[in-house]
Symmetry: C2
Subunit: 571 residues, 2 copies
């Protein structure tokens, strides 16, 4: 008995808790956080600190959640399941911040990301002055801190713009580097990402930084993609001018007073930026929770690169919503799989789909009049003889198809599996010949028999699909024969039990017993298991599933025509 | 100039608004709703009616949101963007229900789904008695109504269990059908889905219903999959016994007093059912918003079948969380795509990925010493001659690879595209011969020249990948040559501008000009566009992307070895 190698139970997902406000419009706050957490394949829970009546045009009203109830929510969540990361967003007021500080101190082994939300994108003040003071109590608990330029200026007390008016757009790159360092020294031991979206930095400023002094991470990679000539061909018709390219965003990562990296990207010309800060800080938490600590390159850099990249492409791929600053496209990396994963409840979603996708067609194959008459023993002998002679040809091509599968394989495991089946058919064909001899048909007669049209149509279709497509297409083209004969064997067995078919005195008894025998059904089980495993490992999109389903239908139709051939003695 | 056929802007998504409570644990309430909405590819917004401090073990505390603030949230959302559907969940109290009723009447062209949340899975009362009365005011506004058995009994006043103790597990199928009809008559014109999860229905009860009286929709399809013998093979080692199978869940859909369908499925043996009702009602809203009204079969049935199927597989695929009744796996149908979609900001995510995935390798190809020396005119003539003779062989295989692409194609469009390129190479080779003749090499010499190892290695690799894999693998294997020569042409042009290369008196001037000429670059543009389009239309999973990237790296390495061959006169 084969042991099932499909994973029927999924493992636990990283738990990310967001403590923040609610944005009724769905673009920022816990709504943006939960959408981001889903996109990263993590599990999201939330503690609400305040509710906003808000849309893409602004914040219309705020409802503060009582401090006790904030703590009660936190208690409910963490007492039941320990989060991997906690993201802190809008914290509403000083009382909540102080209570959270006390409570968070009790939670061990959790990574905290603090996004010091003070003002909404639309300009609404979200944190009063005394609450900003209270934030300081949180600093020692925080691993990652993500202020934007106005927030960093406010929290560090550093005035890089000279006149102190806080106009971030006047900052140059050297100012920003100093601001990042100053903020880091005020915050203490956590890693600070100074978000540079409010400043306008030119390509020239970046390229005139002392060579090798800072690690610069360009959008999409370790190097400035603009050095790739062929990519700029595209800009001719994508409408991005070099001038626009010059407006860069630089995010600065600093820890222990040292600049770890500058993340440089072209500014995205978009109004869809509502909730960018919430999204980025949550993406950092998710990225931390999902990025392997081993692997190529520096772990921290990989975490931030992934989170920044996700946020940027969520902005760039945003779709229209509302009349103001629209939300990001949080689901831009998610593709809907065409089939659910296998579970204990439904261990064969792919085969179930294939059979159900055209049940009458499937039944016309496995309960064909040829099969029914065979089971009753009323099938004319000449029909069976014609069928079995053609089946000899078919088996040869079926073995060849498996050899082609071995050619198409990328792993020794697959090569072994396919050649084993091809070798098995080549060996077992002796039994087929011996069986045919019991009907008075010699091996020479089998070889000399011309291939009928239905046999050629089916066998050559299998070979052609295998040659034309990839290994999964090939796998698909040989599946309906294996699975279908298993169904025929089991169905006939059931008909015998129901008195609708008979083994006693039936000249086809041996044939019927072969296809419901342990040997053959074991092969069917392995075949089904392999099929489901391949599909579960690399889930097909709708397009791929449609192609595979089409191959299945065609093979089932050709199998049915093969029985017809026997019954009607078609040459 | 080619017009770009990649869609660079995504369209608007259906907007689903949930009006419900918050579950801090993330498994029910607006958290479950937002996760479901993400899974369906819609846009989620939310109006909070109440907050719960809750986890998988129970509800620890409730904070009611002031009625005015509920209405303010609703006003903010709907004044900015019209939802396609509104889902109503936990509505907290009578005051909120009455205010919502008044406000919802003003919103036109919206489909409302009402899940009458009264009691949590853990047994906590979520709606007081007077609020249940107030719900009646909402009935005329609702299109879809989804009570479970206890809720339907409470709202309809119908006592199918006789003794009135409301024990749903005592109900038989006939009782449930009557209960569904009675509930429908009380609710009025909306479609009612009576959720049968609380009852235990046997397979025998379903099969003894009058034949043809009710439309029965079995899990995964229109027929009972247990009639497929081969699928039950699996049950041997998946541990699902026939006995367990006998415990069925029947959901009943009724409208205008008529039973539209019974949805029958095997009961899932799972503790992960927290938030099932929230999830199903939101899935109905999403399914309504995304399911085409044209298409195969009845629209309403397709909506409910999709929503019920989603909810069931979300339960069946749930992963461990918390110590009590855990949440569903809302993201079970989502697969993370390996690349972001193309946007105006980043129109070529695939090519950018390929180049950045091994930038030094790419540069070793396109800025190879052979290319540098060629640009300066210092490349020894015999090196160039060796290269150009081998290139003649390569071009032949390159043309063959495109012919193979036409064989692999499924559409006339692809056949035309591939054969056009093959024909173009076969015709343009005359120019190559003519150019070789200018170096004193005859066509006969070209044909007689033995194929060098680096040429054979590269050309035969391309043919083998094309034969082994699918059309995308083949496309990948011919891409680096086209794109790389475009890069070489443009890069040399830039070097000329920078004074690092020269056209004046350079015997390779003609070659240099060919590869930055309008004709060739136009072909490169079309090639890049086709590549990105194929990837955007059927986004690769991580596994597929890894395979494609491996092919690209191998081709780039072999291209570099091809230059080496020229420079070092390798045979």
């Amino acid at each position: 008995m084969a042991t099932c190698s499909i994973s029927l139970e999924s493992g636990k997902r990283p738990h990310i808790l967001t403590i923040a406000g609610s944005d009724s419009g769905g673009g920022a706050g816990i709504q943006a956080d939960l959408k981001t957490i889903e996109a990263f394949g993590c599990y999201g829970s939330s503690v609400l600190t305040g509710l906003t009546a808000q849309n893409t045009l602004g914040v219309q009203a705020v409802h503060e959640v009582p401090t006790d109830f904030v703590i009660q929510q936190l208690e409910s969540v963490v007492s039941d399941d320990q989060p991997t990361c906690i993201k802190l967003g809008m914290l509403t007021n000083a009382s909540i911040i102080q209570a959270l500080t006390t409570k968070l101190k009790e939670i061990k082994n959790v990574v905290i990301v603090l996004d010091p939300v003070m003002i909404s994108t639309s300009g609404h003040t979200l944190l009063p002055e005394n609450a900003i003071e209270a934030l300081k109590g949180l600093y020692p608990l925080v691993q990652y801190f993500t202020p934007n330029i106005p927030e960093a200026i406010r929290l560090s007390g550093f005035r890089p713009d000279g006149d102190g008016d806080g106009d971030a757009s006047k900052l140059n790159l050297e100012d920003m580097i100093e601001l990042a360092k100053q903020t880091n020294s005020v915050i203490g031991s956590s890693t600070v990402l100074l978000k540079g979206g409010h400043a306008n930095i030119s390509r020239k400023e970046v390229s005139s930084l002392p060579k090798g002094k800072y690690k610069i991470i360009w959008e999409q990679g370790d190097d400035d993609l603009d050095t790739i000539e062929v990519l700029s061909l595209y800009s001719r018709y994508s409408g991005i001018s070099k001038k626009e390219d010059d407006n860069l965003v630089v995010d600065i990562l600093v820890n222990g007073g040292e600049i770890i990296a500058l993340f440089v990207s072209r500014k995205i010309n978009s109004k869809s930026t509502h909730g960018t800060g919430c999204t980025l800080s949550t993406a950092i938490a998710c990225s931390y929770a999902t990025e392997e600590s081993t692997g190529e390159g520096d772990h921290t850099l990989r975490i931030f690169k992934k989170a920044i990249g996700y946020t940027q492409s969520a902005i760039a791929s945003a779709y229209p919503f509302g009349n103001g600053h629209g939300p990001l496209n949080h689901a831009h990396l998610s593709v809907r799989r065409a089939l659910p994963p296998p579970t204990k409840h439904n261990p064969h979603p792919f085969l179930s789909h294939l059979i159900q996708s055209n049940l009458p067609l499937w039944k016309s194959y496995v309960q064909h009049p040829f099969v029914v008459q065979l089971g009753k023993g009323t099938l004319p002998k000449e029909c069976f003889e014609h069928y079995i002679k053609q089946d000899y040809h078919y088996l040869k091509h079926y073995a060849r198809a498996h050899a082609l599968g071995a050619y198409k394989a990328d792993t020794f495991q697959d090569i072994a599996a396919f050649t084993k089946i091809a070798a098995h058919i080549a060996k077992e064909v002796d039994k087929h010949v011996w069986y045919c001899e019991s009907f008075g048909i010699s091996r020479a007669q089998l070889e000399a028999e011309p291939e009928s049209s239905p046999c050629a149509a089916y066998a050559r279709y299998v070979i052609d699909v295998g040659t034309q497509g990839d290994i999964l297409d090939l796998y698909m083209s040989v599946a309906s024969c294996l699975v279908g004969y298993g169904e025929v064997g089991l169905w006939l067995q059931k008909q015998v039990e129901l008195g609708e078919a008979t083994l006693e005195g039936n000249i086809y008894k041996r044939w019927m017993q072969d296809y419901c025998g342990e040997d053959f059904l074991h092969a069917v089980e392995i075949g089904i298991e392999n099929l489901e495993r391949r599909i579960a490992e690399d889930p097909p999109t709708e397009a791929k599933l449609a192609r595979l389903t089409k191959i299945w239908h065609e093979c089932v139709r050709l199998e049915s025509a093969f029985w017809d051939m026997g019954l009607k003695l078609i040459k």
